[in-house]
Symmetry: D2
Protein backbone atom coordinates (compact mmCIF):
# COMPACT_ATOMS: atom_id res chain seq x y z
CA UNK A 1 0.00 0.00 0.00
CA UNK A 2 1.39 3.40 -0.93
CA UNK A 3 2.49 5.68 1.89
CA UNK A 4 0.04 8.41 0.92
CA UNK A 5 -2.94 6.01 0.90
CA UNK A 6 -1.76 4.77 4.26
CA UNK A 7 -1.69 8.30 5.69
CA UNK A 8 -5.21 9.03 4.53
CA UNK A 9 -6.51 5.79 6.01
CA UNK A 10 -4.79 6.46 9.34
CA UNK A 11 -6.44 9.90 9.43
CA UNK A 12 -9.86 8.41 8.57
CA UNK A 13 -9.50 5.72 11.23
CA UNK A 14 -8.47 8.37 13.77
CA UNK A 15 -11.57 10.45 13.06
CA UNK A 16 -13.74 7.34 13.38
CA UNK A 17 -12.15 6.42 16.75
CA UNK A 18 -12.91 9.88 18.09
CA UNK A 19 -16.44 9.99 16.69
CA UNK A 20 -17.24 6.57 18.19
CA UNK A 21 -15.79 7.36 21.60
CA UNK A 22 -17.54 10.71 21.67
CA UNK A 23 -20.81 9.01 20.68
CA UNK A 24 -20.27 6.32 23.34
CA UNK A 25 -20.10 8.77 26.22
CA UNK A 26 -22.82 11.02 24.76
CA UNK A 27 -25.20 8.03 24.36
CA UNK A 28 -24.68 7.19 28.04
CA UNK A 29 -25.90 10.70 28.91
CA UNK A 30 -29.05 10.50 26.75
CA UNK A 31 -32.43 10.61 28.49
CA UNK A 32 -33.63 7.50 26.69
CA UNK A 33 -30.49 5.42 27.16
CA UNK A 34 -32.44 2.18 26.69
CA UNK A 35 -32.82 3.03 23.02
CA UNK A 36 -29.05 3.59 22.69
CA UNK A 37 -27.85 0.23 23.98
CA UNK A 38 -26.77 -1.21 20.63
CA UNK A 39 -25.13 2.07 19.77
CA UNK A 40 -23.11 2.08 23.01
CA UNK A 41 -22.01 -1.51 22.45
CA UNK A 42 -20.98 -0.97 18.83
CA UNK A 43 -19.31 2.39 19.51
CA UNK A 44 -16.90 0.69 21.89
CA UNK A 45 -16.11 -2.14 19.51
CA UNK A 46 -15.74 0.11 16.50
CA UNK A 47 -13.51 2.61 18.32
CA UNK A 48 -11.22 -0.13 19.58
CA UNK A 49 -11.08 -1.98 16.26
CA UNK A 50 -10.23 1.21 14.36
CA UNK A 51 -7.59 2.13 16.98
CA UNK A 52 -6.08 -1.34 16.64
CA UNK A 53 -5.93 -1.17 12.83
CA UNK A 54 -4.50 2.34 13.01
CA UNK A 55 -1.73 1.04 15.28
CA UNK A 56 -1.02 -1.89 12.96
CA UNK A 57 -0.69 0.51 10.04
CA UNK A 58 1.78 2.71 11.94
CA UNK A 59 4.00 -0.30 12.60
CA UNK A 60 3.64 -1.47 9.00
CA UNK A 61 2.00 -4.80 9.86
CA UNK A 62 1.66 -7.53 7.24
CA UNK A 63 -1.82 -8.23 8.56
CA UNK A 64 -3.23 -4.77 7.96
CA UNK A 65 -5.17 -5.86 4.85
CA UNK A 66 -6.90 -8.71 6.68
CA UNK A 67 -7.70 -6.49 9.63
CA UNK A 68 -9.03 -3.77 7.33
CA UNK A 69 -11.61 -6.21 5.99
CA UNK A 70 -13.06 -6.88 9.44
CA UNK A 71 -12.72 -3.26 10.44
CA UNK A 72 -14.83 -2.38 7.43
CA UNK A 73 -17.57 -4.77 8.65
CA UNK A 74 -17.56 -3.35 12.18
CA UNK A 75 -17.63 0.24 10.92
CA UNK A 76 -20.59 -0.62 8.70
CA UNK A 77 -22.48 -2.28 11.57
CA UNK A 78 -21.81 0.70 13.83
CA UNK A 79 -22.79 3.18 11.12
CA UNK A 80 -26.03 1.30 10.42
CA UNK A 81 -26.97 1.45 14.09
CA UNK A 82 -25.94 5.07 14.62
CA UNK A 83 -27.83 6.39 11.62
CA UNK A 84 -31.12 5.17 13.17
CA UNK A 85 -30.81 7.81 15.89
CA UNK A 86 -31.29 11.48 15.24
CA UNK A 87 -28.89 12.76 17.90
CA UNK A 88 -26.11 14.86 16.40
CA UNK A 89 -23.42 12.62 17.89
CA UNK A 90 -25.04 9.56 16.29
CA UNK A 91 -25.43 11.16 12.87
CA UNK A 92 -21.86 12.42 12.94
CA UNK A 93 -20.65 9.04 14.08
CA UNK A 94 -22.57 7.23 11.34
CA UNK A 95 -20.95 9.50 8.77
CA UNK A 96 -17.44 8.79 10.12
CA UNK A 97 -18.18 5.07 10.25
CA UNK A 98 -19.38 4.83 6.66
CA UNK A 99 -16.43 6.89 5.43
CA UNK A 100 -14.09 4.63 7.36
CA UNK A 101 -15.82 1.43 6.19
CA UNK A 102 -15.27 2.52 2.62
CA UNK A 103 -11.62 3.46 3.19
CA UNK A 104 -10.99 0.09 4.84
CA UNK A 105 -12.69 -1.81 2.04
CA UNK A 106 -10.50 0.02 -0.49
CA UNK A 107 -7.32 -1.41 0.98
CA UNK A 108 -8.67 -4.82 2.09
CA UNK B 1 8.73 -6.73 42.90
CA UNK B 2 9.15 -10.47 43.40
CA UNK B 3 8.14 -12.75 40.54
CA UNK B 4 5.56 -14.57 42.67
CA UNK B 5 3.87 -11.34 43.78
CA UNK B 6 3.88 -10.31 40.15
CA UNK B 7 2.16 -13.54 39.09
CA UNK B 8 -0.56 -13.15 41.70
CA UNK B 9 -1.20 -9.56 40.67
CA UNK B 10 -1.40 -10.50 36.99
CA UNK B 11 -3.98 -13.16 37.87
CA UNK B 12 -6.00 -10.71 39.99
CA UNK B 13 -5.93 -8.11 37.23
CA UNK B 14 -7.03 -10.73 34.72
CA UNK B 15 -10.03 -11.72 36.83
CA UNK B 16 -10.95 -8.06 37.23
CA UNK B 17 -10.76 -7.45 33.46
CA UNK B 18 -13.11 -10.36 32.84
CA UNK B 19 -15.53 -9.40 35.62
CA UNK B 20 -15.71 -5.80 34.34
CA UNK B 21 -16.20 -6.78 30.70
CA UNK B 22 -18.82 -9.35 31.65
CA UNK B 23 -20.59 -6.73 33.82
CA UNK B 24 -20.36 -4.19 30.97
CA UNK B 25 -22.28 -6.33 28.49
CA UNK B 26 -24.69 -7.64 31.16
CA UNK B 27 -25.54 -4.08 32.29
CA UNK B 28 -26.38 -3.17 28.69
CA UNK B 29 -28.94 -6.00 28.71
CA UNK B 30 -30.61 -4.93 31.99
CA UNK B 31 -34.23 -3.79 31.87
CA UNK B 32 -33.43 -0.58 33.77
CA UNK B 33 -30.30 0.37 31.85
CA UNK B 34 -30.67 4.03 32.84
CA UNK B 35 -29.70 3.06 36.37
CA UNK B 36 -26.58 1.27 35.12
CA UNK B 37 -25.02 4.12 33.17
CA UNK B 38 -22.20 4.87 35.61
CA UNK B 39 -21.54 1.16 35.94
CA UNK B 40 -21.21 0.73 32.16
CA UNK B 41 -18.87 3.72 31.92
CA UNK B 42 -16.63 2.56 34.77
CA UNK B 43 -16.64 -1.09 33.71
CA UNK B 44 -15.07 -0.11 30.40
CA UNK B 45 -12.45 2.13 32.00
CA UNK B 46 -11.60 -0.36 34.71
CA UNK B 47 -11.32 -3.31 32.32
CA UNK B 48 -9.04 -1.39 30.00
CA UNK B 49 -6.87 0.06 32.78
CA UNK B 50 -6.40 -3.38 34.37
CA UNK B 51 -5.60 -4.91 30.97
CA UNK B 52 -3.04 -2.18 30.37
CA UNK B 53 -1.34 -2.68 33.74
CA UNK B 54 -1.37 -6.43 33.24
CA UNK B 55 0.42 -5.95 29.91
CA UNK B 56 2.97 -3.60 31.47
CA UNK B 57 3.70 -6.21 34.15
CA UNK B 58 4.25 -8.94 31.57
CA UNK B 59 6.83 -6.78 29.78
CA UNK B 60 8.46 -5.84 33.07
CA UNK B 61 7.81 -2.10 32.74
CA UNK B 62 9.55 0.37 35.05
CA UNK B 63 6.28 2.28 35.30
CA UNK B 64 4.21 -0.56 36.71
CA UNK B 65 4.27 0.88 40.24
CA UNK B 66 2.98 4.28 39.14
CA UNK B 67 0.30 2.67 36.98
CA UNK B 68 -0.74 0.37 39.84
CA UNK B 69 -1.53 3.42 41.95
CA UNK B 70 -3.99 4.80 39.41
CA UNK B 71 -5.33 1.36 38.63
CA UNK B 72 -6.13 1.00 42.31
CA UNK B 73 -8.16 4.24 42.22
CA UNK B 74 -10.11 3.18 39.13
CA UNK B 75 -10.84 -0.27 40.58
CA UNK B 76 -12.10 1.34 43.77
CA UNK B 77 -14.36 3.74 41.86
CA UNK B 78 -15.74 0.89 39.77
CA UNK B 79 -16.23 -1.32 42.84
CA UNK B 80 -18.05 1.47 44.68
CA UNK B 81 -20.45 1.92 41.79
CA UNK B 82 -21.01 -1.79 41.16
CA UNK B 83 -21.75 -2.63 44.76
CA UNK B 84 -24.77 -0.27 44.70
CA UNK B 85 -26.56 -2.65 42.32
CA UNK B 86 -27.90 -6.00 43.38
CA UNK B 87 -27.43 -7.80 40.05
CA UNK B 88 -25.16 -10.80 40.38
CA UNK B 89 -22.77 -9.47 37.72
CA UNK B 90 -22.45 -6.18 39.61
CA UNK B 91 -21.86 -7.81 42.98
CA UNK B 92 -19.28 -10.18 41.51
CA UNK B 93 -17.63 -7.30 39.66
CA UNK B 94 -17.47 -5.19 42.85
CA UNK B 95 -15.77 -8.06 44.64
CA UNK B 96 -13.16 -8.45 41.87
CA UNK B 97 -12.62 -4.68 41.77
CA UNK B 98 -12.01 -4.34 45.52
CA UNK B 99 -9.67 -7.35 45.52
CA UNK B 100 -7.79 -5.85 42.60
CA UNK B 101 -7.69 -2.36 44.15
CA UNK B 102 -6.06 -3.84 47.22
CA UNK B 103 -3.55 -5.89 45.22
CA UNK B 104 -2.60 -2.80 43.19
CA UNK B 105 -2.21 -0.66 46.31
CA UNK B 106 0.10 -3.28 47.78
CA UNK B 107 2.64 -2.90 45.01
CA UNK B 108 2.14 0.82 44.30
CA UNK C 1 -20.20 -20.70 20.34
CA UNK C 2 -20.79 -22.64 23.55
CA UNK C 3 -19.80 -20.97 26.80
CA UNK C 4 -17.33 -23.74 27.68
CA UNK C 5 -15.55 -23.52 24.34
CA UNK C 6 -15.42 -19.78 24.84
CA UNK C 7 -13.82 -20.17 28.27
CA UNK C 8 -11.16 -22.52 26.94
CA UNK C 9 -10.35 -20.17 24.07
CA UNK C 10 -10.09 -17.18 26.43
CA UNK C 11 -7.65 -19.15 28.57
CA UNK C 12 -5.59 -20.19 25.53
CA UNK C 13 -5.48 -16.62 24.24
CA UNK C 14 -4.42 -15.42 27.68
CA UNK C 15 -1.52 -17.86 27.82
CA UNK C 16 -0.46 -16.79 24.33
CA UNK C 17 -0.54 -13.09 25.28
CA UNK C 18 1.71 -13.77 28.25
CA UNK C 19 4.10 -16.02 26.32
CA UNK C 20 4.44 -13.42 23.54
CA UNK C 21 4.99 -10.50 25.90
CA UNK C 22 7.49 -12.49 27.93
CA UNK C 23 9.30 -13.50 24.72
CA UNK C 24 9.25 -9.87 23.51
CA UNK C 25 11.13 -8.54 26.52
CA UNK C 26 13.42 -11.58 26.73
CA UNK C 27 14.37 -11.23 23.03
CA UNK C 28 15.36 -7.61 23.66
CA UNK C 29 17.79 -8.85 26.31
CA UNK C 30 19.42 -11.49 24.06
CA UNK C 31 23.09 -11.06 23.15
CA UNK C 32 22.36 -11.49 19.45
CA UNK C 33 19.33 -9.23 19.26
CA UNK C 34 19.82 -8.70 15.52
CA UNK C 35 18.72 -12.29 14.96
CA UNK C 36 15.56 -11.73 17.04
CA UNK C 37 14.16 -8.75 15.15
CA UNK C 38 11.31 -10.58 13.42
CA UNK C 39 10.49 -12.33 16.67
CA UNK C 40 10.24 -9.02 18.57
CA UNK C 41 8.03 -7.53 15.86
CA UNK C 42 5.68 -10.50 15.72
CA UNK C 43 5.56 -10.99 19.50
CA UNK C 44 4.12 -7.51 19.88
CA UNK C 45 1.54 -7.98 17.14
CA UNK C 46 0.53 -11.43 18.29
CA UNK C 47 0.20 -10.41 21.95
CA UNK C 48 -1.94 -7.42 21.06
CA UNK C 49 -4.12 -9.31 18.57
CA UNK C 50 -4.77 -12.12 21.08
CA UNK C 51 -5.54 -9.59 23.81
CA UNK C 52 -7.97 -7.85 21.49
CA UNK C 53 -9.78 -11.06 20.56
CA UNK C 54 -9.88 -12.11 24.20
CA UNK C 55 -11.57 -8.81 25.05
CA UNK C 56 -14.06 -9.20 22.20
CA UNK C 57 -14.96 -12.66 23.49
CA UNK C 58 -15.55 -11.37 27.03
CA UNK C 59 -17.99 -8.77 25.70
CA UNK C 60 -19.66 -11.35 23.47
CA UNK C 61 -18.86 -9.57 20.21
CA UNK C 62 -20.56 -10.64 16.97
CA UNK C 63 -17.24 -10.21 15.20
CA UNK C 64 -15.31 -12.74 17.29
CA UNK C 65 -15.40 -15.39 14.55
CA UNK C 66 -13.96 -13.06 11.92
CA UNK C 67 -11.29 -11.84 14.31
CA UNK C 68 -10.41 -15.40 15.31
CA UNK C 69 -9.57 -16.16 11.69
CA UNK C 70 -6.99 -13.37 11.50
CA UNK C 71 -5.76 -14.10 15.00
CA UNK C 72 -5.07 -17.64 13.87
CA UNK C 73 -2.91 -16.35 10.99
CA UNK C 74 -0.91 -14.00 13.25
CA UNK C 75 -0.36 -16.74 15.85
CA UNK C 76 0.87 -19.06 13.12
CA UNK C 77 3.27 -16.45 11.75
CA UNK C 78 4.60 -15.73 15.23
CA UNK C 79 4.93 -19.44 16.05
CA UNK C 80 6.80 -20.08 12.79
CA UNK C 81 9.30 -17.35 13.60
CA UNK C 82 9.72 -18.26 17.26
CA UNK C 83 10.35 -21.95 16.61
CA UNK C 84 13.45 -21.05 14.56
CA UNK C 85 15.20 -19.88 17.73
CA UNK C 86 16.39 -22.25 20.40
CA UNK C 87 15.93 -19.90 23.38
CA UNK C 88 13.53 -21.31 25.93
CA UNK C 89 11.27 -18.26 25.72
CA UNK C 90 11.02 -18.65 21.94
CA UNK C 91 10.29 -22.38 22.07
CA UNK C 92 7.68 -21.86 24.77
CA UNK C 93 6.17 -18.97 22.83
CA UNK C 94 6.03 -21.04 19.61
CA UNK C 95 4.16 -23.75 21.48
CA UNK C 96 1.60 -21.27 22.87
CA UNK C 97 1.21 -19.66 19.46
CA UNK C 98 0.52 -22.93 17.63
CA UNK C 99 -1.92 -24.05 20.32
CA UNK C 100 -3.69 -20.70 20.07
CA UNK C 101 -3.67 -20.72 16.24
CA UNK C 102 -5.45 -24.06 16.34
CA UNK C 103 -7.99 -22.95 18.96
CA UNK C 104 -8.76 -19.83 16.92
CA UNK C 105 -9.14 -21.81 13.70
CA UNK C 106 -11.59 -24.12 15.45
CA UNK C 107 -14.04 -21.32 16.15
CA UNK C 108 -13.37 -19.21 13.02
CA UNK D 1 -10.15 20.97 31.59
CA UNK D 2 -11.39 23.22 28.80
CA UNK D 3 -12.46 21.60 25.56
CA UNK D 4 -9.87 23.48 23.52
CA UNK D 5 -7.00 22.43 25.81
CA UNK D 6 -8.32 18.90 25.56
CA UNK D 7 -8.29 19.01 21.75
CA UNK D 8 -4.71 20.21 21.64
CA UNK D 9 -3.60 17.52 24.04
CA UNK D 10 -5.37 14.79 22.05
CA UNK D 11 -3.59 16.02 18.90
CA UNK D 12 -0.21 16.08 20.69
CA UNK D 13 -0.74 12.58 22.07
CA UNK D 14 -1.73 11.36 18.62
CA UNK D 15 1.48 12.73 17.07
CA UNK D 16 3.49 11.10 19.85
CA UNK D 17 1.80 7.71 19.30
CA UNK D 18 2.65 7.83 15.62
CA UNK D 19 6.23 9.02 16.16
CA UNK D 20 6.84 6.25 18.71
CA UNK D 21 5.33 3.51 16.58
CA UNK D 22 7.23 4.70 13.53
CA UNK D 23 10.45 4.82 15.56
CA UNK D 24 9.72 1.32 16.95
CA UNK D 25 9.59 -0.33 13.54
CA UNK D 26 12.43 1.80 12.14
CA UNK D 27 14.70 0.88 15.09
CA UNK D 28 14.07 -2.81 14.39
CA UNK D 29 15.39 -2.23 10.85
CA UNK D 30 18.60 -0.46 11.98
CA UNK D 31 21.93 -2.14 11.27
CA UNK D 32 23.04 -1.78 14.87
CA UNK D 33 19.82 -2.92 16.52
CA UNK D 34 21.66 -3.85 19.72
CA UNK D 35 22.15 -0.17 20.42
CA UNK D 36 18.43 0.50 19.95
CA UNK D 37 17.07 -1.99 22.47
CA UNK D 38 16.00 0.54 25.10
CA UNK D 39 14.52 2.71 22.40
CA UNK D 40 12.42 -0.17 21.04
CA UNK D 41 11.21 -1.07 24.52
CA UNK D 42 10.28 2.50 25.45
CA UNK D 43 8.73 3.29 22.05
CA UNK D 44 6.20 0.52 22.60
CA UNK D 45 5.36 1.61 26.14
CA UNK D 46 5.15 5.27 25.26
CA UNK D 47 2.98 4.69 22.19
CA UNK D 48 0.55 2.53 24.14
CA UNK D 49 0.41 4.84 27.17
CA UNK D 50 -0.27 7.88 24.98
CA UNK D 51 -2.92 5.96 23.03
CA UNK D 52 -4.56 4.95 26.30
CA UNK D 53 -4.61 8.50 27.66
CA UNK D 54 -5.91 9.79 24.35
CA UNK D 55 -8.79 7.32 24.56
CA UNK D 56 -9.53 8.28 28.16
CA UNK D 57 -9.70 11.93 27.11
CA UNK D 58 -12.14 11.17 24.29
CA UNK D 59 -14.49 9.44 26.72
CA UNK D 60 -14.07 12.26 29.25
CA UNK D 61 -12.59 10.07 31.99
CA UNK D 62 -12.29 11.38 35.56
CA UNK D 63 -8.86 9.75 35.75
CA UNK D 64 -7.32 11.64 32.85
CA UNK D 65 -5.35 13.96 35.15
CA UNK D 66 -3.77 11.10 37.07
CA UNK D 67 -2.96 9.24 33.87
CA UNK D 68 -1.47 12.39 32.34
CA UNK D 69 1.04 12.56 35.16
CA UNK D 70 2.38 9.06 34.44
CA UNK D 71 2.15 9.60 30.71
CA UNK D 72 4.38 12.62 31.16
CA UNK D 73 7.00 10.46 32.92
CA UNK D 74 6.94 7.78 30.22
CA UNK D 75 7.18 10.36 27.44
CA UNK D 76 10.16 11.93 29.17
CA UNK D 77 11.91 8.58 29.60
CA UNK D 78 11.30 7.74 25.95
CA UNK D 79 12.44 11.17 24.80
CA UNK D 80 15.63 10.92 26.86
CA UNK D 81 16.48 7.59 25.28
CA UNK D 82 15.57 8.59 21.74
CA UNK D 83 17.58 11.79 21.77
CA UNK D 84 20.78 9.78 22.35
CA UNK D 85 20.51 8.34 18.84
CA UNK D 86 21.14 10.39 15.74
CA UNK D 87 18.73 8.54 13.44
CA UNK D 88 16.08 10.85 12.05
CA UNK D 89 13.25 8.71 13.45
CA UNK D 90 14.79 8.89 16.93
CA UNK D 91 15.35 12.64 16.85
CA UNK D 92 11.82 13.22 15.57
CA UNK D 93 10.44 10.86 18.18
CA UNK D 94 12.37 12.59 20.99
CA UNK D 95 10.91 15.90 19.89
CA UNK D 96 7.34 14.52 19.92
CA UNK D 97 7.93 12.88 23.29
CA UNK D 98 9.22 16.04 24.98
CA UNK D 99 6.37 18.10 23.51
CA UNK D 100 3.90 15.51 24.75
CA UNK D 101 5.55 15.23 28.18
CA UNK D 102 5.13 18.98 28.61
CA UNK D 103 1.51 18.95 27.43
CA UNK D 104 0.69 16.13 29.84
CA UNK D 105 2.40 17.88 32.75
CA UNK D 106 0.35 20.99 32.03
CA UNK D 107 -2.93 19.22 32.67
CA UNK D 108 -1.73 16.77 35.37
Amino acid sequence: MSYEKNRLLIQTLRECVEACNYCFQACLKEENVKMMVECIRLDRECADMCAFLERELTIDSSFAHDLAEICSKICEACGNECQKHEHDHCQKCAESCFKCAKACKDIA
